[in-house]
Amino acid sequence: MAPSQDRSQGRTGGIVSGGEVAPATVTGNRALQIEEPLIFELGQPGRTGVDLPEPPKVKDRLNGLRRSGEIGLPGLSEPQVVQHYTRLSQKNYAIDMGVYPLGSCTMKHNPRLNEKVARFAGIGDLHPLQPVSTVQGALELIDRLAHWLKTLTGMPAVAMSPAAGAHGEMCGMMAIAAALEAKGERAQRRTVLAPESAHGTNPATAAALGFTVKPIPANERGRVDLAALKAALGPDVAAIMLTNPNTCGLFESEIIEISKAVHAAGAYFYCDGANFNAIVGRVRPGDLGVDCMHINLHKTFSTPHGGGGPGAGPVVLSAALAPYAPYPWIVKNGDAWTVAEDGAKVDGQPLGRLKAFHGQMGMFTRALSYIMSHGADGLKQAAEDAVLSANYVMASLKDVMTPAFEGPCMHEALFDDSFLKDTGVSTLDFAKAMIDEGYHPMTMYFPLVVHGAMLIEPTESQAKEDLDLFITALRALAEKAKSGTAAEEFKAAPRYAPRRRLDETLAARKPVLRWRPSNSFKQAAE
């Protein structure tokens, strides 16, 4: 197989051709690493992985719309299906393998107890529209989690239905829009302030709701410039969207002054709760003046990331915003639980509905199991261990890599690429070299305010020995990069992963988003 042409001309997005080639195998496999075809290339007509009874003959009542022709789905037997997905799984890095230091993602251990209880009959198999008298335990479960979330955050109310963090942001910002409308100020307050370091979902959410996003600069300490913020506040401002600790891993020390200024200007304070793991059990966002905060159950509360989802993003709300929480509301009526659905009379003016049914129950169950397992004492300890681990990593690397800001961090350590200056090695190259060392890279190029950002979040789940090995590897890579003679080596990484660097330019210029019988891949590569 000939290595492909280097189309990059030194630019990002292209690929560098490989170095020496290991001896080929007949199958193309390399021991446990199997070259796995697509199911469409494996399937055969006449094969099936299920045994279903012969359907009785009935008269069609399909309005003459019976599907004709082949759908085109491949047939595989159960052994083949199990082998296919098992082999695919072996190409993935995962938390279960070791340090997964993605900053702002909180890749902590996903306890299997959570999986077990989520599958109990009577919990995992309930239909959301069963009569409420038959699901009292499920409603109680949701309420228990809601109670924990409210108590941990010091907030009086919580909207449970958003399906993910970004969905929660949408919920919180809609609640703010609803509150403004109730006061007759929606038309006047069209600006939302957000730091330049904000996660992309923040401005995307605000813009979708018709707000104009104005950036607030940071000071040299990496925190919101309070004076600039005060200058930007005015009768046209609806809200500020802040992350705390912020995306640089730093606690906003002036947060109380910030929330006071925001409220004095008649605006609301949205807090992005992505980094709650740094303070859970030790600090309550309600005490900081927050009006609403989404909580990523898949970050702070360990529900599994599952390759990108599902998540859950319940939103805790202040007394000012609580009336606007979307339907459904889980409400206690004397001794019994009930679900207040669209149009039901509640003690508020719900902003509407954001999702069908009640919310991500599977994630509620897992999060509650995690929370009960940790308890108030364990949660506090987890936050402290997370912060200690990040500072340990920072302290152990700061002489060979370049921290972006001085002083201690919270649960994540932020470096910039100054230490790579004039080495020919970029943040991207450094990250790819980490792969060969057996680690998933840290978050790269985020937050945008730091050049070549590297954001490392070890979480509380790593043993010290594992952190030490991780630190040793990074130190060695940093030294190697700084030697100035290793750029080629870094650019050729990763070498040992199931795939070398992939041509993302080709993928974007000639998008092939599905398999076709004619093997469109060959045509796309022209």
Partner: protein, 448 residues
């Protein structure tokens, strides 16, 4: 504590390296007034596994599981049998505990199954291109409307009276706060609605559901033509994805965007979530699609591989100008869907769909033997509407007290419409049995 590996000795050593006397020093930026000092008050301490399990078993005991009762509930979530292998595959740690495939070299497992998933979705729906899943069908439908608004540069969506009421409410909520208008048709109990006359030059899209919320199966070919003539898009929503094993797919009717709730395949009922949204469209609208997309490419050794692509549409790059604020997809639920569908294959899915229709046909015939009960539908897949001689909600409650889960009273989802008070929605999947139908029929006769 079983999940926290650091010992006190570890912590002391680490603090020494950090140069702090205690971990409190690391929290020095927290304002004095917000320092709790101790753990949060009013919450219990940690529990062992046994105690946690017991607590959840106690909660489970207060619920009636569908496996313990005759069960006929649908209305947007359907009880199907999921083969045993599916759960074992999704529980593999490499799938369960992996993350979004931003580093494709070490996430080819995820990327390849998503590429296969995308392909399966196009085949099921008869469309050209599909994304790597949405949170669920309901939020997917709202995103489809936003996409139609972008593509047509118009702001008025026309919503069928046959769309799931909760889906409709989500679109209305999005319309209200995001600044466009949603015009809703009259509740379409009989399945005869004609929306063509309501389309005009300002319509961005028409949103219909097939089978409809009330179960009717319809052909939207003429509606598609009318939409296209007016420069609008046709969005077809499918809440029971198994129906695509038996019914003409929306792609063959001229749909521009198809949104499905994929829960029926691979994912249990789960009390409402997490589910998985399928989203498919025509190739010419590819760049306007929300959500993640997986594309094929090659690596530096020329080997085929997969990557997330066209991501410049997304929030982390476009920020304010993104196609959507979405960050996650349904991940593991999409994996469950694709594993189950792969086990089914062509023959299995078709047979499963036939079984569903046969069961529902059987139930429909038997239900009309109950005096006073009238079947509303002439067509259906595995769910239909019946008109009872009295309000349906109390009837369902009475049957629940007898541990019979007898469908959904339409009034629960349309409380503001008095004309639906006597309507009951009943679903019968391949899991319905004689042992379930007999008590339902007997129970209805008794209660009515």
């Amino acid at each position: 504590m079983r999940y926290l590996p650091l010992t006190d000795a570890d912590r002391r050593e680490m603090l020494a390296v950090v140069g702090a006397k205690s971990v409190d020093e690391l929290f020095r930026d927290v304002p004095q007034s917000a320092r709790l000092g101790a753990k949060v008050a009013g919450l219990p301490d940690h529990l062992g596994e046994l105690e946690v399990e017991r607590a959840f078993l106690d909660l489970a005991a207060k619920n009636v599981s569908p496996s313990q009762a005759p069960f006929f509930i649908g209305a947007g979530a359907y009880r199907h049998h999921v083969p045993a292998s599916v759960d074992y595959m999704i529980q593999r740690g490499e799938f369960l505990t992996s993350y979004t495939p931003y580093q494709p070299e070490i996430t080819q497992g995820t990327l390849q199954y998503l590429f296969e998933f995308q392909t399966q979705v196009t085949l099921l729906t008869g469309m050209e291109v599909a994304n790597a899943s949405m949170y669920d069908g309901s939020t997917g439908a709202a995103e489809a409307v936003l996409m139609a608004n972008r593509v047509t540069r118009r702001h008025k969506a026309l919503i069928s009276g046959g769309l799931h009421p909760q889906y409709r409410r989500i679109i209305e909520t999005t319309a209200k706060w995001e600044g466009y208008s949603a015009v809703v048709g009259k509740t379409d109990v009989e399945g005869l609605e004609d929306l063509i006359a309501s389309i005009d030059k300002e319509t961005s899209c028409v949103v219909v559901q097939n089978p409809s919320f009330f179960g009717h199966v319809r052909d939207f070919g003429k509606l598609a033509d009318a939409c296209h003539e007016a420069g609008a898009l046709l969005i077809v929503v499918v809440t029971e994805v198994v129906s695509l094993g038996l019914l003409k797919p929306p792609g063959e009717m001229g749909a521009d965007i198809v949104v499905c709730e994929g829960q029926s395949i691979g994912n249990g009922l789960g009390f409402g979530g997490p589910y998985v949204g399928l989203f498919a469209t025509k190739e010419k609208y590819m760049r306007q699609m929300p959500g993640r997309l997986v594309g094929e490419t090659v690596d530096a050794d020329g080997k085929r591989g997969f990557v997330l692509t066209l991501s410049t549409r997304e929030q982390h790059i476009r920020r304010e100008k993104a196609t959507s604020n979405i960050c996650t997809n349904a991940g593991l639920c999409a994996l469950a869907f694709t594993v189950h569908l792969t086990l089914l294959g062509e023959a299995g899915l078709k047979r499963l769909a036939e079984l569903n229709h046969a069961k529902a046909s059987e139930l429909a015939d038997r239900i009309e033997t109950v005096p006073g009960v009238k079947l509303v539908n002439q067509s259906f897949f595995n769910e239909f509407t019946v008109r009872l001689p009295k309000p349906a909600a109390p009837v369902v409650e009475a049957l629940a007290a007898k541990r019979i889960l007898a469908g959904v009273p339409v009034s629960r989802l349309l409380p503001e419409d008095p004309s639906v008070e006597n309507l009951l929605l009943l679903a019968a999947t391949e899991t319905a049995t004689e042992a379930g139908m007999a008590p339902l029929i007997a129970g209805l006769k008794e209660v009515l």
